[in-house]
Amino acid sequence: MVFHSFQFFIFLLITYTVFRLFPRQYQWGVLLMGSLVFYGYYSWLATLILLGLSVIMFFIGQQLEAASPRNQAAVLWSGIVLNVGVLGYFKYTNFFLQNVAQLSGRNFEPLAIFLPVGISFYVFQAMAYLLDIYLGKIRAERHLGYFCLYLAFFPKLLQGPIERAADLIPQLKQEYQPDRPRDLQALQMILWGLFYKLSIADRIALLVDPVFANLGVYSGFPLFVIVNLYTLQIYFDFAGYTHIARGVGLLFGIRLSENFNHPYWATNIQDFWRRWHMTFSFWIRDYLFVPLVAAYRYRGSWGIAAAAVLTFLIAGIWHGASWGFVVFGLIHGIYMAVSIATLKTRNRWVKSLRLPAWLVTGYGMIILFEMITFSFIFFRAETLSDAGWIIRNIFSAALPASLWEVVSIWQAILLAVVFWAIGWKYALLAWEKAGKLQHGLIRWQIFNAFVLNCIIFLGVISGGAYLYFIF
């Protein structure tokens, strides 16, 4: 039941109607039931795992709060180990055994372990909850139902945003108040999300997927264009999902966190991670990077660099059980370590050149985009050898192929139309922010009518799942 499916909108309509019909003190129950049904659509076993983990974490949270300072760490670690154990078992057992078998030269038959969809997201939320109690940021939740809903709330269950208990639980407890403008804003978010996903990400996928499936026949400029397009695809896919998730949450009066803030406008890697998958990057910053920096604080800049590499290595592995994700994390760790170590020097050097600001910013954005694109090669390629093949051939013209063989003129025109709409949106937002948007309502109406038509006429309705779905 992906967000852009007909079934999901039927499910949403039913859930919303029942939610509105129920007395306010029981509306949380409707949301919880709806969330379990939504998750049960994928797998009832996964729903039981989610419920089981929720109940255990609820009681560990209470124990953690009640424990004496001497025992608190032990209770916390029991919770962390349980979460990591669950995630590790379901997600990484086969990967681990496969590599052990390869090293020992034995044959490997994958174990029949099923992967509960969205487990990486709700396990991270459960860990954040325990850590926040331990750090004294929040009190343990006393209501099992609200806690289960905190982990299971369906708009963010499968792909985030990774919500903190301090942000989400109070909203879940808040009495729902009908608010027409808020509902309209929610619908607009859903509309924009569908546009991002169906009209842009899935349109790019039409071009990217065949090339990655037949890497051996492409090289040079066409390959360069395709890997760059993938960088755009993954953003619009994930940002589209997040828009819809936030819009759906808002229909129930819940404001889920922002996950993206124009990440490709960043000019350095630190800035990028402040804008990309923000709830995840803030999670790894708060619960991994900061403690690691604190642990390595006596080792100076080498300590910070080591903390960065280690943090991003874990972040890479979090994405999935393959060496491609490990390398992806490692690359970002190195980017981050080098960036932190050289930031001051670079800034001094750039200042000394006295270049115009727009040139420095533009140059930074392009270079960073290509750095991100390089890392996404490992993210997208099926195997490390595929990624190696791309890197070896991307700047060679060994296989003569015209760009039009991978991106036809027709597809280029359609992409130009949807990207023009994106530019239009940014322009409207910028004018609005600057207070220069006259006749704002009609302009936004025209824009939204255009976007709706882009979904109807240029949306690729193939039922393709979201890219981050597998994580």
């Binding site: 039409l206 065949p210 027709w410 939204n448």
Partner: protein
């Protein structure tokens, strides 16, 4: 921030404006897409395409619209033939050049999935009775025409509703409009996914109608026959056991039965009575199967009986009306090889040439 939201804006005036905007912008999208389809020659009316085909002989191979039997109905009327071919895609490689010189011929065979079986034949032939030019029908007969499970022979509730709408005055226009919208919308869906570089083809002077014809030289000829793409790769010969397992899962073509569908046999008799009444000669022709597939049908434990009944009963029924029916099902018996076929069921044009030269043309000339 909130002000910009406009969908379902509850003030009726704003909602109305939004709806108008959606329609106006949507209209521009439709016009643009239709323009591209028009440049390809995809969405031209059948009458216009047929008219141009008669003059220039250009090929018609649409990529986003399935050629409907109405194309063949109109084509047959325009050609006003002396000899017409009916049947499924298995007859489509038959061209006018295979028949004796000077014979006015039209191939009105329709792809099986849209042929609607014997009812479909009647729909094509009935308008031709009026001209009294039609002398002979070359009837390509496939076993599945007599299989009650065949989709063209089944009438699920949806098909019954459609039939009712088509036959009811007032509703027929509503159905046509719905069908038109649906057909075009599905075409837009396919067009927007297209990543073949067709623009250079559009820039050249029009050589054909439809993208398949423009790009691959594949499509319907002016005589109603169909040409395979220039770079078509023939399907390789497969093991008999492969076909047997495939047949075991397919009860739409060859029924799991020893008998033909009685209702279909009755319809067939009606069809023959009608042609007889109009003084038209019908030459029955069971088109050949590739030898590996033919062996599989005859060895299939569940479906061989049906196939045998088809080969036995249909010529007998035709004989009752004084018509002949020639059974070419077993290609091997006529010395035809796997190379004479595009795939397990579809013979190449050259095979039809040999078949007509050796077995049919004499009958045609005599009639």
């Amino acid at each position: 921030m909130v002000e910009r939201t406009c969908i379902l804006y509850f003030k009726p005036r704003e909602a109305g404006i939004f709806l108008i905007l959606v329609c106006v912008i949507g209209f521009f999208f439709v016009v643009s897409l239709e323009l591209v389809l028009s440049l390809m020659g995809e969405n031209w009316p059948y009458q216009q395409v047929l008219g141009r085909q008669q003059i220039t002989g250009q090929r018609f191979g649409p990529r986003y619209f399935e050629v409907n039997k109405h194309y063949k109905i109109a084509g047959a009327q325009l050609a006003n033939p002396e000899v017409v071919a009916l049947g499924t895609s298995r007859m489509l490689s038959l061209t006018a050049s295979h028949l004796p010189a000077g014979v006015r011929f039209y191939n009105a065979a329709v792809v099986a999935s849209i042929s609607e079986g014997i009812d479909g034949w009647k729909e094509i032939i009935t308008p031709l009775y009026a001209s009294e030019e039609l002398k002979t029908i070359v009837l390509g007969i496939d076993p599945w025409v007599f299989n009650p499970n065949y989709p063209g022979n089944r009438k699920p509730p949806k098909a019954k509703v459609i039939d009712f709408m088509k036959q009811t005055k007032g509703l027929d226009q509503a159905y046509f409009t719905y069908w038109l919208f649906k057909d075009h919308f599905l075409a837009y869906r396919e067009l927007e996914k297209e990543n073949v570089n067709f623009f250079p083809t559009l820039a050249t002077s029009r050589q054909a109608f439809g993208l398949n014809a423009l790009l691959y030289d594949a499509g319907y000829n002016a005589d109603g026959s169909w040409s395979y793409p220039v770079k078509h790769l023939d399907e390789p010969v497969k093991d008999v056991n492969h076909w047997k397992s495939e047949l075991a899962g397919d009860h739409y073509r060859f029924a799991n039965s020893q008998d033909l569908g009685p209702q279909q046999v009755t319809q067939f008799r009606d069809f023959l009575s009608s042609t007889k009444a109009h003084g038209i000669t019908v030459i029955g022709l069971m088109p050949p199967f590739r030898p590996d597939f033919f062996d599989a049908i005859t060895l299939s434990p569940s479906q061989a009986g049906f196939f045998a009944a088809f080969r036995r009963e249909i010529p007998a029924v035709m004989d009752e009306y004084g018509y002949i029916c020639l059974d070419f099902s077993s290609a091997g018996d006529f010395g035809w090889k796997a190379d004479d076929f595009h795939d397990n069921m579809h013979s190449k044009s050259d095979l039809f040439k040999k078949l007509f030269a050796d077995y049919i043309n004499n009958i045609l000339l005599a009639s």
